[in-house]
């Protein structure tokens, strides 16, 4: 599979909205048992937040870490399934608010929860080809779950952004390999004009999440001569906490290499941002020379997998912007009725 020869993360940023709703609050409303919930709580975007505003916040932190002026950015690609407009790019809004170069390629990418890493595939390719110096790959979502549906416990809001440029000594982490693995698998979808997605319940597990995630990981490891022992941290997409841990069990990955990258228990499933937020959490703690394997999953279905090596620049750059933990500590709990108002579920 493709070796990435000259593309690296120069800066990364996460944004987690400050509002949280506990799984127990949702369970109380719908008469469910609160002892077996998929996540403890989830992040909820405020009334004045959407995919664009969250993408901007994450991108500002990423640019700050990278030490790159916004005017040097020549590509802004936003992966999301909650575009504020059905027709009108979010990427141009993000680019305009940040003040990037006018000579910028921009697009909104849709591939359910792997749209963010699809943006990473695009930007790394543009950098490697020498078409751009720096680009922004963003995953952002204000995920929606139908009231009372199982998805409502996890569908959360958040964003993550990576400033990607040529591999230099002062970069945060360089990309080594990538792989994409896709099939047509109808496990989760939303038709035009529909407000909420539909999912195929248990079918979202074995033939969907597990098949694609495990196939991508096995491919990138075996084709490039790596074993589980060569990787220091594994990052997975997290529709809940159980799924990534189940993947670790199947692949005989020690949980100590997976648990540091878990974010869903406290943030929920931020869809296109999820695996990128988890990668950022690992970058907050990783040391130069350590190897990370990050794998997304998007319904429909497919997985992107990347092998990255952490570089010396991480030590100085990680402290230039708020970390995952610092953003997580900015927290205000809301009740279900406030949640309905904030997520525009009350229509008059």
């Amino acid at each position: 599979m493709p070796k990435i020869r000259n593309a690296a993360i120069h800066g990364y940023g996460v944004y987690i909205p400050m509002f949280r709703i506990k799984g127990a609050e949702l369970a109380k409303v719908w008469g469910k048992n609160a002892s077996d919930l998929p996540v403890k709580e989830k992040a909820v975007a405020g009334l004045d937040e959407d995919t664009v505003t969250m993408a901007v916040e994450a991108s500002k932190y990423a640019l700050k870490r990278a030490g790159v002026d916004a005017s040097s950015i020549s590509a802004v690609h936003v992966g999301t399934e909650s575009k504020p407009y059905a027709v009108k790019p979010s990427g141009t809004l993000v680019a305009e608010i940040l003040g990037t170069s006018r000579k910028t390629t921009s697009a909104d990418l849709e591939f359910a929860c792997k749209a963010g890493t699809e943006a990473v595939q695009f930007i790394t390719a543009l950098v490697e080809a020498g078409r751009i110096d720096y680009g922004l790959a963003i995953g952002a979502d204000t995920a929606q779950g139908r009231p009372g549906d199982a998805l409502e416990y996890t569908a959360a809001s958040g964003a993550a952004a990576l400033v990607i440029g040529p591999a230099k000594n002062d970069c945060v982490a360089k990309f080594d390999y990538s792989v994409s693995f896709v099939t047509d698998t109808p496990d989760f979808w939303r038709r035009s004009y529909e407000r909420y997605p539909v999912h195929a319940s248990r079918f979202t597990g074995e033939p969907a999440y597990f098949h694609h995630t495990i196939s991508a990981v096995n491919t990138i490891l075996s084709e490039n001569g790596y074993s589980v022992n060569d990787i220091d941290y594994f990052v997975f997409h997290q529709p809940n906490v159980k799924f990534p841990l189940a993947v670790a069990k199947v692949l005989s990955i020690p949980t100590s290499k997976v648990v540091p990258g878990l974010v869903a228990d406290m943030v929920g499933n931020t869809y296109a941002a999820c695996s990128m937020v988890a990668l950022a959490k690992i970058l907050d703690i990783a040391s130069p020379g350590q190897r990370i394997l990050a794998t997304s999953y998007g319904s429909g279905a497919g997985s992107d997998s990347f092998v990255l090596t952490v570089c010396d620049g991480i030590l100085e750059k990680r402290n230039r912007a708020p970390t995952y933990t610092e953003l997580l500590s900015r927290r205000k709990e809301i009740d279900y009725s406030t949640y309905l108002k904030y997520r525009d579920k009350i229509r008059m």
Binding site: M18, G46, L47, D48, E49, D50, V52, T53, V56, E57, P84, Y85, L93, E96, I97, G99, N319, P322, E326, L327, R330
Partner: protein, 137 residues
């Protein structure tokens, strides 16, 4: 109450200031003006340079709005703050991600871009500057 415009060109022209706090600074007296200006409003000089304000400032005072202007009804009650930016420029704007009990006069605030309102007829989303207490490091 004066109705707000939903004309896209109006907001399109405001982009540099309401997205990035960009404006013109007078090279003679130092006064900052939103957007492009040819003549300084304070001293009449014609020597102005494009500048982007720093993102941070301090809270001078604030109030809670319960009777909202058209277009802001869904967000009441909301906070409006008077903010002195690092360069001394005074701005007034909505405060977000906070309640009155979180605010202290003199505290450090930062600029963020949020949804200001959604036009009722065209559904155009208007984004612009708001302020919030600085995210602590």
């Amino acid at each position: 109450m004066k109705p707000l415009t939903s004309r896209p060109p109006f907001y399109w022209r405001l982009r540099p200031f309401i997205y990035r706090l960009e404006g013109s600074r007078c090279s003679v007296c130092g006064h900052f003006h939103p957007l492009n200006r040819v003549v300084c409003r304070r001293c009449g000089s014609r020597t102005l340079e494009r500048e982007r304000l720093n993102n941070a400032g301090r809270l001078v005072n604030y109030t809670v709005v319960h009777q909202a202007q058209e277009g802001f009804e869904k967000t009441t009650p909301y906070l409006v703050g008077w903010v002195e930016m690092d360069d001394g420029t005074n701005l007034v704007g909505q405060l977000t991600d906070c309640d009155p009990q979180d605010l202290k006069v003199g505290m450090t605030i930062e600029m963020v871009v949020r949804k200001l309102r959604v036009d009722g007829d065209s559904n155009l989303i208007v984004y612009g500057v708001k302020f919030r207490p600085l995210v602590q490091r």
